[in-house]
């Protein structure tokens, strides 16, 4: 089932002078963590705003949870954490969650029951009586996340959720999101922190200048085909020798011995040979590039193409 689907979604500003999003086609499956990447001004926030009805499309259609985006009732099943959100600063976290929970259609009893568990989850239970004007950026983000989860949504839109949060907090947010995913929720993430995205995303899309450049499984983009890091309980010279004998391209790559094989048969032959030389294989790991490397490569290629 699709959580999000867009067909030819387009948004122009200033009578077409600014093309924020152009013929955007996207499909996001339910129960996945989907991340949207792109340089500043690529159109990431515009896409979220279009999906939530905050801006109106110039043309094209879109649906969330099988309902057209024009139907605001579907927002009952949606949680949203905007980038640079502003909560009324005269409220404390309990009041914030109460008001926004009621706007989501929750009853006073439901809100009352939900608030303590959410504040505990985002580690703000000790701050429940403190007005949000005294909160740091990180604390506001945590509260924003709690607010997005108040209605137990099926689909969460998070725009830079770890912005301003320290590394320990980021890990906690990541754990919360992974737990939500395990519960079958769909998470749509906008983030600049590529290392975070890489750690938790199932699928990604890269947006540049309002156009979809890449979309697919994260694994597909960061795996390097037929390249493996091999480590044995001996020095790498032995491995180099074996590779030379078998005419396999093998050398040191960032401190790890890496081989490039033609196919799985050749890889298995290599393993057999290593074992036959009485070497213990400690690990064989498919080589991956970092998402950051992939992202920069894609954006660079795009720049080259556009020239």
């Amino acid at each position: 089932m699709l959580a999000i689907e867009t067909i030819g979604l387009t948004k122009y500003y200033s009578r077409g002078k600014i093309k924020a999003l152009q013929d955007f086609n996207l499909q996001v499956e339910t129960g996945k963590i989907f991340s949207l990447l792109g340089p500043n001004g690529a159109g990431k926030t515009t896409l979220i705003k279009l999906l939530l009805g905050i801006v109106m499309p110039t043309r094209g259609t879109a649906s969330i949870l099988q309902q057209p985006i024009s139907d605001h009732n579907i927002h009952q099943q949606i949680g949203y954490l905007p980038e640079n959100h502003k909560f009324p600063d005269f409220l404390n976290p309990v009041q914030v969650l109460t008001y926004y929970g009621k706007m989501d259609g929750l009853t006073a009893d439901q809100v009352k029951k939900k608030i303590p568990e959410l504040l505990k989850l985002v580690k703000l239970e000790k701050w429940e009586k403190v007005k949000v004007k005294k909160f740091s950026k990180g604390m506001l983000q945590r509260l924003g996340l709690a607010q997005a989860m108040i209605n137990d949504p099926q689909l969460l839109f998070l725009d830079e959720p770890t912005d301003g949060i320290d590394p320990v907090g980021r890990r906690e947010v990541r754990d919360i999101l992974l737990e939500l995913k395990n519960k079958g929720k769909t998470i749509f993430l906008n983030s600049h922190l590529l290392s975070e995205v890489e750690r938790m995303s199932d699928d990604i899309a890269i947006l540049n200048n309002g156009k979809l450049v890449e979309q697919g499984k994260l694994e597909k983009f960061i795996s390097v085909e037929r390249q493996y890091h091999i480590s044995v309980d001996s020095d790498d010279h032995q491995l180099e020798k074996i590779c030379r004998e078998m005419d396999i391209n093998g050398n040191d790559f960032n401190g790890r011995f890496t081989v490039m094989v033609e196919d799985d048969i050749q890889l298995n032959r290599l393993i057999d040979t290593i074992r036959s030389r009485q070497l213990n294989i400690l690990s064989i790991i498919p080589r991956k590039i970092s998402l950051e490397d992939f992202f920069i490569q894609v954006v660079h290629d795009e720049k080259g193409d556009s020239r």
Partner: protein, 273 residues
């Protein structure tokens, strides 16, 4: 329930502002003033001496007149000073909720855009109505209990004052929506408020105009814009128990309020944030 939460939030936001607390404080002060300023001496179950602000009333008829005069003065004070302060205090409510990070969050809730706009709009009117009726009902009770003269028309004047505020607030909300500037929308609304007495005197201006066209233009402006000067006179007439010669200023101003609110809702429905 959902819209109510938005109204409650706007109400709370207004209460958090010092202007409304000042308004509330002044209302309490005025009411307390009446508790102490109105003196009654009862001898053998009958009123032997009545004084208001040190002035002795010789008969019940005279007392009735004094009560109506005081209530009339309060209602006019509320119509001018009260609305002036209320507009000032609410001028930023629309622009502040249109800010990025606030409006996005509200639109992401299962509320229609109309519900969001009207929730905010109603919240602002609710807080002003609360303040106005707090003063009116409180002073009315004190005066009525102490004098035994129950002028229900005074309560009715509160309704006209709140409607008048709502009409002007509709204009201010519209301006706030299209300019996102609280200061600008307040200035223009004040201009309309103070322009109204001038338009009421347009018969005297006709002679000074070089062309008939300007006369028609003035007439047009008069009929379209809220007639606050006449609404103020109407308020005083209601308190005094005088007949209202024409309800036109009320219904035509209300029509303006409804019309401009409708336009605001249409704009808000199509606006990108």
């Amino acid at each position: 329930m959902r819209t109510l939460a938005l109204i409650q939030l706007t109400f709370k936001e207004s209460l958090a502002k010092k202007t409304f607390m000042a308004f509330f404080g002044i209302s309490t002060l005025v009411s307390l003033l009446f508790i102490f300023a109105l003196n009654l001496d009862i001898v053998d179950g009958a009123q032997a001496y009545i004084s208001v602000f040190g002035q002795e009333a010789n008969s019940l008829v005279e007392l009735d007149k004094i009560v109506v005069t005081i209530e009339g003065a309060i209602s006019i004070l509320l119509f001018t000073g009260g609305i002036f302060m209320a507009l000032f205090a609410t001028s930023n409510l629309i622009p502040s909720f249109l800010e990025s990070g606030t409006i996005d969050l509200l639109i992401s809730k299962p509320l229609s855009r109309m519900q969001i706009f009207m929730g905010r709009f109603t919240g602002a009117i609710a807080i002003v109505a609360f303040n106005i009726f707090y003063l009116i009902v409180f002073t009315w009770l004190i005066i009525s209990v102490k004098t035994g003269i129950w002028n229900f028309n005074f309560l009715l004047s509160g309704v006209v004052i709140v409607i008048s505020f709502a009409i002007l607030y509709a204009l201010m909300a519209f301006l706030g929506l299209i300019t996102s500037s609280g200061a600008f929308s307040l200035m223009i609304t004040y201009l309309i408020l103070f322009f109204s007495p001038l338009l009421l005197q347009r018969d005297n201006i006709y002679a000074l105009l070089s062309s008939k066209f300007y006369g028609y233009l003035l007439d047009g402006i008069y009929y379209v814009l809220p007639k606050t000067a006449q609404l103020s006179i109407m308020t005083q007439n209601i308190v005094n128990g005088n007949p209202v010669s024409s309800w036109m200023p009320l219904w035509s101003s209300a029509l303006f309020g409804v019309g401009i609110t409708g336009i605001s809702v249409l704009i808000f429905n199509r606006k990108n944030f």
